[in-house]
């Protein structure tokens, strides 16, 4: 009895094993889809900067679809997921943790706000997941903060301020007035822009800080007018920028000085409108009319417009380019294993959407051209055949240069 049952058990067991192996082999040969590569994007999808965040998402989706249509990356499809950080640093940290636990991303992108970049970076660093930052932040590339697999596709405020400050002094005028928002954004921009402008021979004729949330800019306007500057640099963002621009226009100050906003973007232009933008200047990481001159920009703008009906903003450009970094690193390293992927990107040169860029090996910073744009009047836009989105024309290109950033040593690298 005992012997018999033992034999029976052994036979049935081996039969079961054979059946299982056959089953696995069969399904494996047929389908066994390679696990998709997951890219998670975290950004301020609610709150005052929701529109730029949505534009980042659109570009990420577009890039993923383009890659999937060509058979994916290393034979694996790309899946994108997203989380809302409500432009709150605490929430950003929590949401990244949630994403890591539930969606197991292979790469993380984000955010749309300087203040949420470091908390996202901290969590990604802890989990050993590559993170590509796509908004301006000065600390993300320092030796103490950057993770081994962290990259920065957006420019730093230092690069932005230095490149634009130098350009302004050389091309727009030597007497500069600085009207800056009274927090990190305004102070950082002042530090880098004034230094670069002074080096290029400019003199500072005035400096005023306005509190965030100012609705009445008239006292500043009175001072700016009295200063008779060639150029007034205005570091203002969101509602502050709208109110300041309105009051500049209603006092017809553009007849007295040239007004320059260091961060200009189509997503904000659409909310501000022709009437308030006309005749003012801005610095931009991307502007869609670049498509008329640059083949990579044309490819990006055309496919984005075809899919979404509107041209991409600079935020979309950063996100799209970050997706290309993921692709290029994987194709070059032939793996998405973080250390090898990351190594493959160090020093890489690329042209994804706006001209030649490169990644500096020490700090993983993307060096890239910037653009100076000038607001058109509605009539000018209609005449140019761009009545709908032609808020600006490109009046200057600032070439990429590592001299605009702190040196590797200054950032803490050996």
């Amino acid at each position: 009895m005992r012997k018999m049952s033992g034999k029976w058990l052994g036979r049935s067991l081996s039969l079961a094993v054979v059946a299982l192996v056959t089953l696995i082999a069969a399904t494996g040969a047929n389908a066994a889809p390679a696990k998709p590569i997951v890219v998670g994007i975290i950004s301020g999808f609610s709150g005052p900067y929701a529109a730029p965040a949505e534009d980042q998402w659109r570009a990420t989706v577009l890039a993923a679809e383009e890659m999937n249509a060509k058979g994916g990356l290393l034979g694996r499809q790309i899946k994108v997921v997203r989380r809302d950080d409500k432009i709150n640093p605490g929430e950003a940290g929590k949401m990244v943790q949630d994403m890591i636990q539930n969606d197991h991303p292979d790469f993380i992108l984000g955010t749309n706000f300087a203040g949420t970049i470091l908390p996202v970076n901290d969590q990604a660093k802890k989990a050993g997941i590559p993170y590509i930052a796509i908004a301006q932040n000065d600390k993300i590339t320092t030796a103490s903060d950057r993770g081994p697999y962290t990259f920065h596709e957006a420019v730093t405020p230092t690069i932005n301020g230095t490149a634009l400050g130098d350009w302004i002094a050389r091309n727009m005028g030597k007497k500069i007035y600085y009207l800056m928002a009274d927090y990190a954004f305004g102070k950082d921009n002042y530090a880098s822009m004034s230094k670069a402008a002074a080096k290029a021979g400019a003199t500072e004729v005035g400096l005023a800080y306005f509190p965030v949330g100012t609705t009445d800019f008239t006292p500043f306007i009175a001072k700016v007018r009295a200063a008779k500057a060639d150029v007034v640099v205005c570091a203002a963002f969101g509602n502050d920028a709208v109110n300041l621009l309105k009051q500049i226009q209603s006092f017809e100050l553009t007849k007295v000085s040239k007004f320059f906003f260091p961060v200009a973007d189509l997503q904000f232009d659409m909310a501000i409108g022709f009437k308030n933008l006309q005749g003012t200047y801005g610095g931009a990481n991307f502007y869609w009319e670049l498509a008329e001159k640059d083949p990579a920009a044309k490819r990006f703008v055309d496919s984005f417009r075809k899919k979404y009906g509107v041209p991409p903003s600079g935020y979309a450009g950063y996100a799209y380019s970050a997706m290309q970094l993921i692709r290029m690193g994987a194709e070059k390293a032939k793996t998405i294993e973080p250390a090898k992927w990351s190594k493959a990107l160090e020093g890489i040169q690329y042209d994804s959407y706006k001209g030649k860029e490169w990644i500096r090996a020490c700090d993983h910073q993307a060096f890239q051209p910037l653009f100076v744009v000038k607001g058109r009047t509605q009539a000018e836009a209609e005449k140019a055949g761009k009545a709908q989105f032609g808020y600006r024309e490109i009046v200057g290109v600032v070439a990429a240069s590592e001299s605009t950033e702190r040196t590797c040593k200054e950032l803490g690298y050996k």
């Binding site: 709150g47 005052p48 306005f210 509190p211 100012t214 609705t215 009445d216 008239t218 006292p219 500043f220 009175a222 001072k223 007018r225 009295a226 969101g238 509602n239 709208v242 109110n243 309105k246 009051q247 226009q249 209603s250 006092f251 017809e252 909310a271 501000i272 409108g273 009437k275 308030n276």
Partner: protein
């Protein structure tokens, strides 16, 4: 102290006049409501904000700046009418703080409602093309829209004064604010007087909101800083003095504007010092009687 030339200071006095006139509209509405109903309307700032949003909305729907400008006070006045009739009237027999709490709560309801419907981001209202340039005043250019806003406010103030002084209904309103019992003894319908006063008061807040919208933008929190300033205007001017309120509104506006030239962060605080000094030296206000 930073040195600034006279032109800069004068131009700032002009802009102070503009914000001062808006405060006058607010303060006159507050005084009217307080005088007749003995209620401090804490929803006044919110109604100013509602006026700005209604202006944005009607401008979008109607497409005509002038029509919208006339419609908004009527609409906000109607909101006031409903508030008085439905929410305020049952509270007259209750303790004094009940209507105050009610209007305080209304502020939050209006603010959240606007956030839900129009979003948390500010909205921009364009000035009409005919008023979008600046006028050369000799020393400097000044936005023609701001001059227009002052003229509009002046017309409304003069109209209110004519109504209160020269019409029979206005006479009853004034009588009601001096002695409401006597008005009722004389057989007049005091409920109607209250309804009318509240409605006119809120319409003035709505007008101030609409006129300010193209200058300062439209956000849900815009009423918050304006309400306490309007209280200051009432206290400094002296309760019950029509032209005293007008003068003190201009004073508060100009003091705020000129202070902000040198110390922007002090601009909103300095008016409270002004109020404290006035209360110590002339408790009845600069132009108050008794």
């Amino acid at each position: 102290m930073e040195h600034l030339d006279a032109t800069t200071v004068i131009s700032q006095i002009f802009t102070g006049t503009v914000s001062g006139m808006m405060l006058v509209l607010m303060a006159l509405g507050l005084t009217l409501i307080f005088g007749v109903m003995n209620v401090v309307n804490f929803a006044h700032g919110a109604l100013y904000m509602v006026g700005a949003y209604f202006f944005f909305f009607t401008l979008q729907k109607v497409g005509n700046f002038w029509v919208a400008l006339i419609l908004v006070p009527v609409l906000v006045g109607s909101v006031g009418l409903l508030i008085e009739r439905i929410l305020m009237r049952p509270l007259y027999v209750r303790p004094e703080e009940d209507p105050i709490l009610m209007t305080f709560g209304l502020t939050y309801i209006f603010m959240e409602a606007m956030r839900m419907y129009f979003g948390k981001i500010g909205l921009a209202v364009d000035t009409p093309a005919s008023l979008s340039s600046a006028v050369n005043l000799g020393l400097f250019y000044f936005p023609s829209y701001m001059i227009f806003a002052v003229v509009c406010a002046m017309l409304a103030i003069f109209g209110l004064w004519m109504f209160q002084e020269k019409t029979d209904v206005g006479l009853i309103v004034r009588a009601g604010s001096r002695d409401s019992v006597m008005v009722r003894v004389l057989g007049l319908d005091f409920n109607r007087v209250r309804l009318l006063s509240f409605s006119i008061g809120t319409a003035l807040a709505g007008l101030a909101g609409a006129l300010s919208a193209p200058i300062r933008g439209v956000i849900p929190e815009m009423g918050a800083p304006v309400l306490p300033q309007a209280f200051v205007v009432v206290v400094v001017g002296g309760k019950g003095s029509f032209w005293g309120t007008v003068a003190s509104g201009l004073l508060v506006g100009i003091v705020t504007a000129v202070t902000s030239l040198w110390y922007p962060s002090w601009a909103e605080v300095v008016v409270y010092f002004l109020m404290a000094v006035v209360l110590l030296v002339r408790p009845m206000g600069l132009f108050g009687r008794e």
